[in-house]
């Protein structure tokens, strides 16, 4: 380590401890019994105190797996449409010149700034008239609208970075605009997926508001809402609560750690102009 930056490393390391200690604390205590959690909260579970009793209670008493699958389905279906429609729209507003193009761009930026949840009341009425109350389809429809603006803006910056020569060569060969988009441009957008996933998919996975107002019951709950309801029932049973929290925290953390490296490149593409 460079000696000159010792102070920098120390300061950052201290902050990292502050950022991670609460998460680590929840995780290590989830493998202990109620008594050990209270007696020695900072101790790492030893071979004697190690127990998975909390995890057993979670899996025996809740629809954890069901909620997990619900969340996975809703998030992945939403993100597929968000990237597909977002990519098409980003291409439409960045590749061609026509009247109203800038206005259209602004129209989408607007949606990134104004939260969709402010329109909840008419959304619920609309879903009722479409017979979609308490369905996953309803959540997906709302999330597509919510995720599109960000996806369009990020994908737009990636599309602008694609060399003109590639597209022009295809045009000279008589390839149609649709084929250029789907067969040449879309494959080149792969690096953008990390950024879109982190900023669009993870918020969908973590959302509490729309599951709460659209799919609050009947096994339709998402993992985030399910955990919220489950912990409410078990609040005095600490090993169970901690196990549920740990299980719910793992998927987004792993996803983020895997994608983190590409993330900064994604932001580069957006900020380099």
């Amino acid at each position: 380590m460079n000696k000159k930056y010792l102070l920098t490393h120390t300061a950052l390391a201290l902050y990292v401890v502050f950022a991670l200690l609460p998460i680590v604390l929840i995780f290590i205590n989830s493998f202990k019994s109620q008594k050990d959690i209270f007696d020695a909260p900072f101790k790492i579970p030893s071979t004697e105190s190690f127990t998975t009793i909390g995890y057993q209670t979670v899996f025996n008493n809740s629809d954890f797996l069901l909620y997990f699958v619900n969340s996975l389905t809703i998030t992945s279906v939403s993100i597929i449409f968000i990237v597909l429609f977002g990519g098409m729209a980003a291409w439409g507003v960045s590749e061609y010149k026509y009247r109203g193009r800038i206005l259209l761009s602004l129209f989408f930026i607007f949606g990134m700034m104004i939260p969709v949840r402010l329109g909840t009341i008419p959304i619920l009425e609309l879903l009722q008239s479409l017979n979609l109350t308490n369905t996953h389809t309803a959540l997906v429809l709302v999330y597509i609208a919510q995720g599109l603006p960000f996806s369009i803006i990020i994908l737009e910056s990636f599309i602008r970075d694609i060399p003109k020569e590639i597209k022009d060569a295809a045009r000279c060969d008589g390839v149609s605009e649709t084929d250029i988009l789907f067969h040449i441009v879309f494959p080149l957008l792969k690096p953008a997926l990390a950024t879109v996933t982190i900023f669009v998919a993870i918020p969908i996975w973590n959302d509490l508001w729309f599951p709460l107002v659209i799919t609050p019951a009947d096994g339709k709950q998402t993992l985030t809402l399910g955990i919220q309801q489950f912990i409410g029932q078990f609040i005095t049973d600490w090993p169970t609560v901690l196990a549920a929290l740990s299980l719910a925290a793992i998927p987004p953390l792993i996803l983020y750690i895997l994608l983190s490296k590409q993330l900064i490149h994604g932001l580069f593409a957006g900020s380099s102009k």
Binding site: L12, L25, P41, M113, I121, S176, L245
Partner: protein, 302 residues
Amino acid sequence: MMKNVKKRELILFLGPALFFYCVFFVYPMIATIKLSFYETINNDTQNFVGLANFNTLINDPFFSEVFWNALWNNLIFFLFHMFIQNPIGILIALLLVNLSFKAATFYRTAVMLPTMLSFVIVGFIWQLILSPTWGITSILYDVFSIKENTPALLGEESTALITISLVSVWQFIGIPVLLIYAALISINKDILEAIKLEKVGFFKAFFHVHLPMVWPTIALVSILTYVNNFNAFDLIYTVKGPLAGPNFSTDLLGTLFYRTFFGFQLQSGNINLGAAVATAMFLIILIGVSIYLFFVQRRILR
């Protein structure tokens, strides 16, 4: 320059996004604003009442107290993020720039991890850690030999809002770190080398070189903070429930919106008043966004 795109193709590209965006975002927003000017009679007839709902919100003895309280709390909640989260975030980003890309990636990822967790998880984690029964706080009190009883930071009217704001700062500090860092490393390398060679002091370099160059990003971070804070709901709901206790001391506009629309305890839900709260939130957010777009985006769009 005009590519030979046909109108039909353009509609194909833009159509699906416009459809979903208009039906599930633009229409609900307009319909919300419209609802806020009406009252519901006999459960199904909408009767135009002008600004009456807003008058209730601002002047009615019962509602106005709750509304101004939520707005005031929300402002405090925002100021905590703006003046604690963002400056610390900028400082961390500045420290990261000097390190190798690999070391910086490690710290950046670690700082960002809490941001990736749902409010539900963050809310409960801190509820447990700050719980007087678990005694993490009392152990820390012992370490620093503080003799007082362990306080229920989230349970006291005087400390609940501040504590929840700081929990939220802990969760979201990764965003300013990430965005400012990305902006800092895209500053021209020659300029950064020159700073090193000239041995310019840390603060002087920051105010004269870094700050002017990352100022658009700081503005972006500020508007994101503003929008997210004035739309916050989940963390309060998780930790304090829809009543945002104790005694509404953690009530924000988001929780007020939820209660007004869905009802709580003996108060039954009111669609039109709920829409009025949502419209008020919309206007508050719109003011911030307009200022941002006017001063910052105008330059970019030209």
